[in-house]
């Protein structure tokens, strides 16, 4: 019996060693934290949500995952977290498949889904029971977040409103300090001050080791936070998968008054109150402008191949 036990332990040790070796090799070669290779996934056979998707998420930075309804934003988050497994291809985190749901991976990923349940206990008890599972959990950060959100740790969470529950869960998620934080529609249900606090927390909790992926329709809530934008198009293939700095370098977002001369490099315009919002190709002379995410989103929806071409041209 003891021999068998030792044998199994030996096999497990070899397996762990191989996994760690793979992780180390991957980390030496690049800082790609999450790699999605040739991913195909569909809930029904023949109806692909993603067909041969390739995507890389690097360590550090806030990724914005945007796209129309039903294009697979939440599905992609579930695939990254390992809650769903690809039909073809693979999703790896530091070289290990997330679909294996190994504790070493689960302790580095935290997902805040759009809908979630919290037990009918106090926030204090919840943290005492759940925090030990996350090695980098910070009680100081948690109390700071809860204080800013105006939440009391001694009140039973069953009495919380939907917005309060979201605030409490977000506070916990941020305090876990996991390497990957996946947020699905994080600002839904938050009040105006809650949204502002959320933006502040995300910005203040960022560091080089942490990657946050935010899937949302509320683009104005996250506009100023993003370091990298992914806009999904048809078949779940990304129309835009570029750093904000690159987009700002390639495109110019302006609002011109009615009657003003449009730019020669204009590629997209949309009437707005008192004039037109336009997107043009940035030249050496034109100044760098702030990205208008709404315009970028609409441009990606209307002229996907054109925008792809512009961003790919170096």
């Amino acid at each position: 019996m003891t021999d068998m036990y030792d044998f199994f332990n030996f096999i497990l040790q070899i397996r762990n060693f191989v996994i760690h070796l793979q992780c180390s090799i991957t980390l030496i070669h690049n800082n790609n934290m999450i790699e999605i290779k040739n991913l195909s996934f569909g809930y029904l056979k023949g109806h692909w949500v993603f067909n041969d998707l390739n995507l890389t998420v690097e360590q550090g930075g806030i990724y914005g995952l945007l796209g129309p309804n039903g294009q697979g934003k939440s599905t992609l988050l579930y695939l990254i977290s390992g809650l769903l497994r690809p039909n073809e291809g693979e999703v790896t985190m530091n070289g290990t498949s997330t679909g294996l749901r190994l504790p070493s991976i689960l302790s580095k990923i935290f997902i805040v889904p759009e809908e979630f349940t919290l037990p009918a206990i106090t926030m204090k008890e919840y943290c005492q029971l759940n925090a030990p599972f996350y090695p980098k959990f910070s009680f100081d950060e948690l109390s700071e977040n809860l204080k800013a959100f105006g939440l009391d740790t001694d009140i039973n969470m069953a009495s919380f409103s939907m917005g309060q529950k979201k605030k409490a869960f977000l506070s916990f998620a941020l305090a876990c300090n996991t390497e990957i934080l996946l947020l699905d529609e994080p600002t839904n249900g938050l009040d105006v001050t809650g949204k502002a606090d959320f933006r502040r927390f995300i910005a203040s909790h960022m560091n080089d080791n942490r990657t946050i992926i935010i899937s949302t329709h509320q683009i104005h809530d996250v506009e100023k936070l993003l370091d990298h934008i992914i806009i999904l198009g048809k078949n779940g293939l990304p129309v835009i998968d570029s750093p904000v700095s690159l987009i700002a370098n390639k495109l110019c977002f302006e609002m011109i008054a009615n009657g003003a001369t449009p730019s020669q490099n204009e590629i997209f315009s949309k009437p707005t109150f008192g004039g037109n919002n336009i997107v043009s190709i940035r030249t050496d002379e034109s100044p760098e402008t702030e990205i208008n995410l709404e315009m970028l989103y609409e441009l990606a929806a209307e002229k996907p191949s054109e925008i792809k071409q512009i961003l790919l041209n170096n």
């Binding site: 332990n9 497990l12 397996r15 762990n16 996994i19 579930y78 977290s81 390992g82 809650l83 769903l84 497994r85 749901r101 190994l102 504790p103 070493s104 689960l106 302790s107 990923i109 935290f110 997902i111 889904p113 809908e115 979630f116 349940t117 037990p119 009918a120 206990i121 008890e125 919840y126 029971l129 759940n130 030990p132 599972f133 996350y134 090695p135």
Partner: protein, 262 residues
């Protein structure tokens, strides 16, 4: 402790953390379930006792069977049936958290191996209610014995029969345990495959299987006739088959749980 928590192998410490979290997070629900078990056992005992002792008094069995407790057998039969029912209900609720998307996310994303999360739920929702039921029966029946001894001219007999009196009893208890394990693992499997209305679905499957079995016995009952002359072999075969079914169903439900997706 914190560094250990991310190890990819099965950890007893992490299993205990999961159990603690599950119990304390659902304390209210678990408390109600346990109270319900005690209540059902208590009410059953009261009803059976009042009926049995009333009959005994009316039929004036005092002189004929002063040393025979008239409530022991009915209570034993009722508790066996009730025990199986409670085990089935509890097992069918084992993976009730997988009913909703939020519950699934909560369950699948908790830090731990699939085995730890599986056994956490099986121990809390499958094994613990059965043990609690057994303990409740023992305590409540002990109280009944004390009360009956003190107020009635009869020697009350404890419902939990002493298994070490003879081999037959040991065999009967072994067979009952393997049957209970079989029922429990069956409903657990149904609960993993279909967490919604698992009990009703399980009962429907049992009725269908029983109908099929009855038809088979009616049609091909002759092939079982030689077993009549080898009762000992028949007993060990039945015990082996039941245990094997319980083990296979447990493995199947674990694999299904491990492969569960959103």
């Amino acid at each position: 402790m914190r560094n250990n928590i991310t190890q990819d192998k099965f950890l007893w410490s992490r299993l205990w953390m999961h159990i603690k979290r599950e119990i304390l997070s659902n304390m209210k629900q678990i408390r109600w379930q346990l109270a319900l078990i005690v209540g059902v056992v208590l009410i059953s005992e009261i009803l059976i006792c009042s009926n049995a002792y009333d009959n005994w008094k009316q039929n004036d069995y005092f002189y004929n069977s002063a040393f025979q407790d008239p409530a022991q057998l009915p209570i034993l039969l009722a508790m066996v049936a009730l025990g199986l029912f409670i085990v089935a209900i509890a097992a069918s609720m084992t993976f009730s958290s997988l009913r909703t998307k939020a519950g699934k996310i909560n369950q699948l994303m908790s830090v731990g191996t699939s085995a730890e999360k599986f056994w956490t739920r099986v121990l809390i929702y499958g094994v613990a209610p059965a043990l609690f039921f057994l303990t409740s029966v023992c305590i409540i029946d002990l109280i009944r014995c004390v009360l009956v001894d003190s107020i009635m001219p009869i020697k009350a007999q404890f419902v939990i029969i002493n298994p070490f009196i003879d081999e037959t009893r040991v065999k009967a208890i072994l067979l009952f345990c393997s049957f209970t394990a079989c029922v429990s693992s069956f409903f657990t499997t149904v609960s993993v495959y279909s967490p919604k209305h698992a009990f009703l679905k399980g009962v429907c499957i049992i009725i269908a299987l029983q109908t099929l079995g009855s038809w088979f016995l009616f049609r091909y009952g002759n092939i079982l006739r030689p077993w009549e002359y080898h009762l000992d072999l028949a007993y060990w075969t039945a015990l082996g088959v039941l245990t094997a079914i319980a083990v296979v169903l447990s493995v199947v439900s674990y694999i299904k749980y491990k492969e569960t997706e959103l």
